[in-house]
């Protein structure tokens, strides 16, 4: 496991996303209300790019005709067949055991600490100012 600097925190706005490649693996980074999440970019169903999916909510219902939305923006819906995955766990809503996508630990680190290491930022210029999104792969 190594820590990879993949973006400045400022470049991915709330509700935004960025597709990065780490060790040849496509990984989608999402920003939801100050938190960052990282998922392997291929839907386990047929391989749709989750980075191009819509960020949506958990739909709940306590009876016919009644529904509520919770956890706004924390569920990504595959752009193809609509499989929905929890950004926090990578588990799908419909089949959480079998149909899940790999998720990765993400943190936001100040530039000063990133410069010290042991972070990998070969392709990414880092300065002591600003904050950086760091993914553990």
């Amino acid at each position: 496991m190594a820590k990879h600097v993949v973006a400045t925190a400022a470049e991915i706005p709330d509700g935004g996303r960025k597709l990065v490649e780490i060790n040849g693996r496509p990984i989608a980074i999402f920003h939801v209300k100050g938190e960052f999440f990282a998922l392997y970019d291929k839907c386990p169903h047929e391989g749709g790019s989750l980075c191009t999916g819509k960020l949506t909510s958990l739909v709940g219902s306590d009876g016919p005709g009644r529904y509520s939305l919770s956890r706004q923006g924390e569920i990504v819906r595959c752009p193809w067949h609509g499989w929905e995955f929890d950004l926090r766990t990578g588990k799908s809503y419909c089949d959480p055991v079998k149909m899940r996508v790999r998720n990765y630990a993400v943190s936001v680190e100040p530039g000063a600490r990133v410069v010290e290491g042991p972070y990998r930022a070969e392709t990414f210029p880092v300065s002591v100012e600003g904050e950086y999104v760091v993914v553990e792969v």
Partner: protein, 377 residues
Amino acid sequence: MTLEVLDRSQTETAAPAAPVRAKPQRLSIIDCDFHPTVKTIDELKPYLSKRWWERIQTYGLRPRHAFVNGDPYPKAAPRAARRDAWGPDGSQPGSDLAFTQQHYLDAYDVEYAMMGPLYPSGQADQDPEFTTAMVSAVNDWQLDAWAHRDKRLKASILVSYEDPQSSVAEIEKRAGDKSFAQILLLTRTNEPLGRKRYWPIYEAAERHGLPVAMHVFGYSGFPVSGTGWPSYYLEETTGHSAACQSVVASLVLEGVFERFPDVKFINIEGGFGWLAALSWRLDKHWSRLRAEVPHLKRPPSEYLREQLYITTQPMDEPESPRQLIDLMEQVGMDRLLFATDYPHWDFDDPARALPRGLTPEQTRAICSENARKLFRL
């Protein structure tokens, strides 16, 4: 309806430009279901007379169903499309040639794609004369906007199928042009497609050696089911399978296959698993009730096995891939045609959709060789 346009600036890595793909060595495909559309309906203007262009401007398209300005059921996604298939300029999925080439034809190694324009096509409009003009315009447009600009794209002869005389005229006009690979009908017509009123279309198909493709949907004004209007899109999209069974039963029992033994039919997007059970059932009943259909000389399953091709998308997904392979063997590995349905949301990726356990020969047959023989490509 507000369409949320995808911001591509952060969804694509700088290199490579094409989508990152799972397998570097991929099989090329002949896709038997690709849906091009227009950026705006103005693209059809050059092909329509003043009268019909004014008709569009004044009344719009008026298909024979209750919701003339929309679909009877809300689709799973805007324009029923993959969310990543909208053009970089926000253009409709399947409307921009350059983007379609990069995002679809190149990305999936598509050797040939059979175009099936569904909207706007004018098929089965409330005004049959308008349908005649529109389908001809769309046929011209398929050539100018797509087939003549990329040789991988094959056009379909759209016809005003409720008006067989006009259909025959359109087929005669197009049949000599090798850019057209097939005649395209929709499955939900005013009468079941085996009925004699449609036979002039099959006669013309036979004359010119053109396959007759039947894509699900249509504007008959009747519900997809035999028992009234369903409540949900989920019911409609599943119900196509049942509707297609009626069409196939009609074609075989009315004697279309017997009368036109050289015409190949293609059922598109209705599933295929049911075909095995339908064949058994038709044969069982035929063995007892054949006096009713003396024009059939052989068991129904024999006609189906020889003359009916069927596309794979949307692929059934049983728990065990073996069960799907069993069904494929029953239907015939030489009768299945791979289809992606690009750019629609229920798209099948050729690298992922087929069940594990097919032999390389079977995979090649389904992905391209069956279509190559059928269309003589």
